[in-house]
């Protein structure tokens, strides 16, 4: 099948290449109205970083376009003289006068600015909320992420995402997120286009994304463009910086638990650049000197490294190589050497868990002609979790050494190889066509044990456990952002997939459509429908992000997950550059998996299919967002009113029950005020209806009738009416941040003071029934984080 798809795509590409060439053919010019194409890249003048979503606007014709994720634009217009405005939020707009009487390639460098000029406001209106076809999408600037209050000194992309309407946080402090009633496995998290399978450090308290290495963050909650697929509920598209093409620069920070350093610069000016970002925690290094050598030393650390090199062969051809690697490791070790009775002994013991991702992507951007942009990608993504026990001993007597040892290792994880090619074809200002094809080869390792014993009399070296499972996921998509007329714009397309596992084949056709109806200059209605299919399931515990969470494929028994979502929205541009959006949505999901009653989320290896139930889910609600992206004050007020339910045949006796994160009200208020270049203040307030949890409120005794002697199975039992039958108290919290920036001769230094949970709210982490001092029973609440002030020093040069 893939062969046919590739042939089809190749034929289409040839057609488009030929069409692009035809525009330059004098004979062709005679036959059609003369049109020429203006194309190029829009970059930051200071560092050469691509500006994603920058606007190219023609005020005289009110036509325009925006740059893609590689900063490329293409606009085809009739031959004429034009004033073209190039703009991007936070940058001074640039107006270029030109005569378009032939195809032109114009690369534009915009200068960062804190003030908005009039011309920029006009140009930016082209990509204003009411004009975009795309709905249910949020874009957050890195500047905003870096100005907001932080938890334990670490800026976090995922925790900022949690503040958006329609996105709910998991448990206290966790970086997991739940979009429109979906589970944590239903989020496609892409780092430079590569899926990330475990996006958290330290059991979910931090995400793996180092903000210093990130250029752009976009979250899709619905109205999914056809180019994205593979998960039901959201796509989080995180793009790394490319590296400064102009000058060598660096930035870093020293925080409470971790420090980080990023370096970037040109290898060959304006041709080749690099960026390296490293982050590591150091609590293990700090406590090590205080623990005696002959005692077990517990340790924990995580690190991550982001690197990228990009090389510009020509204006039409660029190559990117990006790499992410990260690791969490915790355990305890012991080393000891001693002598007894003339015999030397040496013991070395260690047991630890480690987990992490390794991701790399090789990307080649090539412009076939001014209207046809291509991106060819080869990527690798691996998530691995392992537990290791090592125990080695040496005994030396009279120069003879006897060695013995035990080594045990348990490994699980997932590994992907992906090859894909994407095209952006822009035949004119009224069409923006994207199409592509790809193949993902998945290798699942549900759990393999390696056991090695080496004693003087015994030797064993064996490997056992589940076999690797392999699956192939092929996809193709086509979408067109089509401006039908001045008030109607449609993005329509489809995403088609085939999934091959264990001789079983699954196919899916996923139509996607979004429409924008402009009802006045500043008001529009939007409507979208998307169907999504997910072939991968995550066996995860519902509370915290554990490294043991296991990705498993669709099988003969456990079918794919499906979702259909419709959304209706209203967008309005208000004075003071405020954007208002109101969206309602209804999402239906089937093939969802949940742990069966009584199953533990440890040891989910060979029999995982026996531990889960499959069922259905619904989510519906309304989201309100008032946002200000520019000026001295930026931020948003978000509110979500939603209902989320699940139904599984073998859970809650087949009755519908509320999802754990069925949160009726969810509020996020985010604000950053920049008093001056030296001082800004950020504040975040969140409120959420309490999570559901399951508690046996009733008990009974019984004698099991199956045993005549009434011994086995007799006793006291808790009776639970329904899963998630009790609500926790509501969650709310205020965080504050104060950032003091100082220009230095060598660059810039910044002190950030953050106060997490400023009014010391004791939010629920979990609840259980316990005895009170007066002998009665009550519900005891465990809260994790009280007020936590932290200071971070950061610098830029």
């Amino acid at each position: 099948m893939i062969k046919h798809l590739v042939s089809l795509i190749a034929a289409v590409v040839l057609l488009f290449v030929w069409q692009g060439g035809a525009a330059q053919n004098p004979d062709a010019k005679k036959a059609a109205p003369q049109k020429f194409t203006l194309n190029g890249y829009i970059e930051d003048a200071g560092n050469g970083e691509k500006l994603i979503g920058a606007t190219v606007f023609v005020p005289s014709t009110l036509e325009g376009t925006a740059t893609n994720v590689y900063g490329f634009y293409s606009l085809t217009l009739p031959v004429d003289e034009y004033e073209i405005t190039f703009s991007y939020v936070g940058y001074t707009a640039q107006v270029i006068k030109l005569i378009l009487d032939k195809n032109l390639s114009v690369n534009v460098n915009l200068v960062a600015s804190n003030l908005l000029g009039e011309v920029e406001i006009e140009a930016a209106a082209y990509t204003k909320i009411q004009n975009r076809t795309q709905m249910s999408m949020n874009e957050i600037s890195m500047k905003q992420i870096k100005s907001l209050p932080v938890f334990l000194g670490e800026q976090d992309v995922l925790k900022t995402i949690q503040l958006l309407p329609g996105v709910q946080s998991g448990s206290e402090g966790s970086s997991g997120f739940y979009v429109r009633g979906g589970g944590p496995d239903q989020n496609l998290i892409l780092l430079d286009g590569v899926p990330v399978y475990n996006a958290s450090h330290l059991f979910g308290f931090f995400s793996i994304f180092n903000p210093d290495a990130i250029n752009n963050v976009k979250l899709y909650k619905g109205g999914f463009p056809a180019r994205h697929g593979g998960r039901l509920s959201s796509v989080l598209d995180i793009r790394m910086k490319d590296g400064n093409m102009k000058e060598f620069h660096g930035e870093g920070s020293i925080g409470l638990i971790a420090s980080k350093l990023s370096l970037e610069g040109p290898i060959i000016k304006d041709k080749t650049s690099f960026i390296v970002s490293v982050r590591r925690t150091y609590i293990d290094l700090l406590i090590k000197p205080f623990i005696p050598k002959d005692e077990y030393v517990p340790y924990y650390f995580f690190y991550d490294v982001n690197t990228k090199i990009n090389h510009k062969f020509s204006d039409d051809s660029r190559l990117y190589l990006s790499l992410y690697t990260g690791l969490d490791k915790m355990g305890a070790g012991y080393k000891n050497e001693y002598s007894y009775d003339g015999v030397k002994y040496k013991d070395d013991e260690d047991f630890f868990l480690d987990w992490g991702n390794l991701i790399w992507a090789l990307r080649w951007n090539y412009i076939f002609n001014p209207k046809l942009f291509s991106n060819t990608t080869l990527t690798y993504s691996r998530y691995k979790y392992e537990t290791v026990i090592e125990q080695y001993s040496e005994r030396t007597e009279a120069g003879l050494t006897e060695k013995s040892g035990i080594y045990w290792n348990f490994t699980s994880g997932i590994k992907d190889w992906t090859a894909k090619i994407d095209f952006d074809y822009m035949p004119g200002p009224n069409h923006y066509i994207r199409f592509g094809v790809g193949d993902i080869n998945h290798t699942f390792t549900p759990g393999v044990n390696q056991f090695n014993i080496d004693y003087s009399t015994n030797y064993l070296d064996t490997t056992f456990g589940s076999k690797n499972q392999y699956a192939n996921e092929m996809f193709m998509y086509v979408e067109d952002d089509y401006k039908v007329n001045d008030w109607l714009k449609v993005n329509a397309g489809f995403h088609a997939t085939a999934f091959l596992v264990n001789d079983k084949k699954y196919f899916s056709f996923q139509p996607r459509i979004s429409a924008r109806m402009l009802i006045s200059e500043k008001n529009s209605f939007k409507l979208s429908y998307s169907r999504m299919v997910q072939y991968l399931h995550l066996l995860t515990n519902p509370t915290i992000g554990l490294p043991t969470d296991l990705w498993v494929p669709t099988t003969d028994r456990i079918k794919p997950e499906y979702a259909s979502q419709v959304a209706l929205g209203y967008a309005h541009s208000l004075p003071l550059d405020l954007d208002l959006s109101i969206e309602t949505y209804y999402k239906e999901m089937r093939g969802l998996i949940e742990y069966s009653d009584g199953t533990s989320f440890f040891g989910s290896d060979k029999d995982w299919q026996n531990k889960v139930e499959t069922g259905r889910g619904w989510s519906y609600g309304a989201e309100f967002m008032l946002e200000k992206k520019t000026g001295k004050f930026t931020g948003w007020i978000g509110y979500t009113l939603s209902w989320t339910d699940r139904q599984f045949k073998e859970i809650s006796q087949g009755n519908v029950f509320p999802y754990k994160y069925d949160r009726r009200h969810d509020v996020g208020i985010v604000g950053v005020y920049q008093f001056s270049d030296q001082f800004d203040v950020g504040a975040v307030w969140v409120y959420g209806t309490g999570n559901g949890f399951t508690l046996g409120l009733e008990q009974f005794n019984m004698q099991n009738p199956i045993y005549p002697d009434n011994y086995w199975g007799s006793g006291s039992y808790e009776y639970i009416d329904s899963r998630n039958n009790v609500r926790m108290p509501p969650y709310h919290r205020l965080d504050l941040s104060f950032n003091f920036t100082k220009k230095k001769r060598w660059g810039e230094s910044k002190w950030s003071l953050s106060i997490y949970n400023a009014y010391n709210r004791q939010n629920p982490f979990f609840l259980y029934i316990d005895n009170k001092n007066d002998g009665t029973k009550g519900l005891r609440q465990v809260s994790l984080f009280p007020i936590i002030p932290t200071a971070t020093y950061s610098f830029k040069f």
Binding site: Q699, N701, M702, I706, G713, L779
Partner: protein, 295 residues
């Protein structure tokens, strides 16, 4: 070797959990627990050739420590759907159970009604399904997860016609020189995909649960093994396999009860909702029939 499989991860996470709890804040919160109205708890498993026995008690709130006793002065009535049987059961003050001298029959639908002053009356309906016919039982040597084990192959015939729900148990009949034969319930496990696993900790469980959805009306061979049964070499051990053909309700009650026992006290396990088919109350009224084979 196998027991060690998840120990380190579990131990470390438990340490983290305990550490987190110690480092965190705890308080009792005002919780408006719904006012608890005790409900009648009715438990009765009935089988052919055994007289009716019904256990009736009261549920209690999890927020108080009162002990519920079996209830007296309760009217327990059982009637058959075809009208051939209708009886009010008597209370036995020694066993605390309600009983009768009558015996239920296979294939007939029975309804129970239990009434007691001050509590809502409860109802349930159920019947005894057709029995499985045991055809053969063999032993053989097996190897599972790095360990040798005693494997059994049991072939039985599913009567078909309606959904079949089976519970399989293994007893050892051990004869010692100091004691005559004793029957011990042995924990068993199976790799059979039709078996509904209760736990995969490698220890097996006291029952195997299997549905006939893939062998309705056919002969079926179930292979199972004893992960941790090592009889003394000098004893004369035989085995008895019991196959309980259950109504769906009785099967689900037994399965969830065993899941509850198995996961009790595990902070990482999903809480178990014990199945109930008692309308307005809690418990089970379910039919079953036992087939046995010795080896």
């Amino acid at each position: 070797m196998k027991k060690m499989k998840y120990f380190p991860a579990r131990a470390i996470f438990l340490l983290i959990l305990i550490g987190t709890i110690y480092a965190s804040c705890e308080k009792f919160i005002d919780y408006d627990a719904p006012e608890h109205h005790p409900r009648l708890v009715v438990v009765s498993g009935f089988q052919p050739d055994e007289t009716w026995l019904v256990d009736v008690s009261l549920s209690r709130s999890s927020f108080n420590d009162t002990v519920s006793h079996a209830l007296e002065d309760v009217v327990v009535t059982i009637r058959s759907g075809d009208g051939s049987y209708n009886e009010e059961l008597l209370h036995n003050q020694y066993t605390f159970l309600y009983h009768s001298l009558a015996k239920p029959m296979t294939g007939i639908s029975y309804e129970i009604e239990v009434s007691a002053d001050g509590y809502p009356s409860v109802y349930a309906e159920n019947k005894i399904p057709g029995a499985a016919t045991l055809i053969s039982l063999d032993t053989l040597e097996g190897f599972h997860d790095g360990n040798f084990s005693n494997d059994f192959e049991l072939t039985f015939s599913d009567p078909g016609g309606e959904d079949g729900f089976y519970i399989v148990q293994l007893y050892s009949n051990e004869t010692y020189n100091w004691k005559d034969q004793i029957g011990n319930l042995i924990f068993i496990d199976s790799d059979d995909p039709n078996v509904e696993k209760i736990s995969d900790d490698g220890h097996g469980s006291e029952m195997l649960f299997i549905k006939d959805q893939n062998f309705d009306g056919q002969d079926y061979t179930l292979r199972f093994y004893t992960p941790y049964y090592y009889p003394y070499e000098d004893i004369d051990a035989g085995f008895t396999v019991k196959v309980f053909s259950c109504s769906e309700e009785f099967y689900r009650f037994q399965k969830t009860t065993l899941q509850y026992q198995d996961s009790e006290g595990d902070p990482f396990a999903q809480p178990v909702q014990i199945f109930s088919n008692i309308e307005n109350g809690i418990g089970v009224f379910g039919g079953f029939v036992v087939s046995e084979m010795e080896l």
